[in-house]
Amino acid sequence: MTAQVRGNAGSLGDLQRAFQDYLLTEGDAFQAAVRDSRKADRATLLGVYRDGYALRLIEALTTDYPGLMAMAGPADFDHLARAYIARHPSRHPSIRWYGKDLADFIAGTPPYSGSPAAAEMARFEWALGEAFDAPDVAPITAEVLMALAPEAWETLCFTSLPSLRRLRLAFEVPQAWQRRAEVEPGNLEVERAAEPFTWAIWRPELISNFRSLDADEAAMLDALVEGRPFPELCEAVTPFTGEDEAPARAAGLLRAMVEGGMIAGFAH
């Protein structure tokens, strides 16, 4: 078997492109480039690669989307995953990022788009994953802010933790996600919320947190993330509280954000 020149299937590039095309499509032309073994035919042997390709990516999606699996069950999840795989070859060195576009895929692709709760679950779970390995920044403490001179608050701006994500969800996705392991896969029900809520997802240390935000808190956090100074954060809550109550409400909300570990820094 050594040093014996065989019929050449073309250049290295031709062979690599043809092999990849074989794994990504249904054609069988590439089979001519490989040999049968004495124990198995080439279609069987190439099948190890073709099957393995899909199974590895399905496994990655299963790891990243346990709530979606709990909603869909293994058969429907497999169907969805294979449809996504057919449309989205991986372009990243790490399989960790493979599922990035799943929520958009569900939202934009019939029949999956018929379940907006599934798209929301995927969006929520991906945000959790992004928070999981976002850059590490220690949150500030409330004491630091208490020590500031009153005039500093006129220009005081904040930066949020790099892990902070905000999602507006029409379904009770986070509540259902917490029940994901308590039900048989396929039986996780996700109710529509009485009204859409904004949820914050962030990771103050090693564990990710999430909670819903009141409407004025969500508006204030939007302004904070945009880098607006504290007086403008007060303006953001004014429509909800009236002008007189706004500073106290904004200060209270800010304190909750700081004590919850959402805020990375400030400047004035």
Partner: protein
Amino acid sequence: MSTAETGFGLGLRPEHYEEIAASPGRVDWFEALSENYMVPGGGPLHWLDRIRRDYPMALHGVSLSIGSIDPLDRRYLDELKALADRVQPMWVSDHLCFTGVRGINMHDLLPLPYTEEALGHVAERVRAVQDHLGRRLVLENVSSYVTYAASELTEWEFIAELARRADCDILLDVNNVHVSAFNHEFDARTFLRAMPRERVRQFHLAGHTHKGSHIIDTHDHPIVADVWTLYEEAVRLFPGVPTMIERDADIPPYADLVAELDIARRLAGSTRRAAAE
């Protein structure tokens, strides 16, 4: 006495982070999967740094795609270099394979044809990667399920010549030699004996799945007897080379893997003593 340079390691897996940190000294070193730690922050990097304080480490990648005809991914190499600067590993390894073309990553270790063209192509890229990383690269023989009609060389001829031309080292995966030897009906010992002794930097051991007509490298079972026997031969041929067990699925308790590593220690010890007599 074992040291990391001669000793016995395990793959660093999230399931075992806390136990490893709580029980230092039960293995000599850990091999971390590079891509799992090429992230901005969070738990994995926290545990990597924490465990690195107690243990030497090697970095082992799966996406270098050293054999691909795509251009080298400079961003990936920059991230790998940054990780190596952080970890200060004993060495950096990846696989002798390609993982895709046209910018696609198949997340598989696809075999190369063993041709002069491939040899020249890979040797040039290994040298470029080594220049970029500022260190010698260690390349692993993969398990394969097909042989190409185009191949002109054996796998062992290809690897030995690549190591010579590119001045790289070899991660000899004993299980992969066994798997490919069964799948392609060659003599595993011939493969081992063809490896240049001074280039073999590390051994891998792992379990696999036997399908009757072929074996698949699944890393989800304990190491089988035939692979232990081949490992003894590898230890005879390449004494003092560090050994590590890979387990990537159906991951058992940490203590089970430590016990399996003890089998490797025992076999390597008795092989070494027999050779000395």
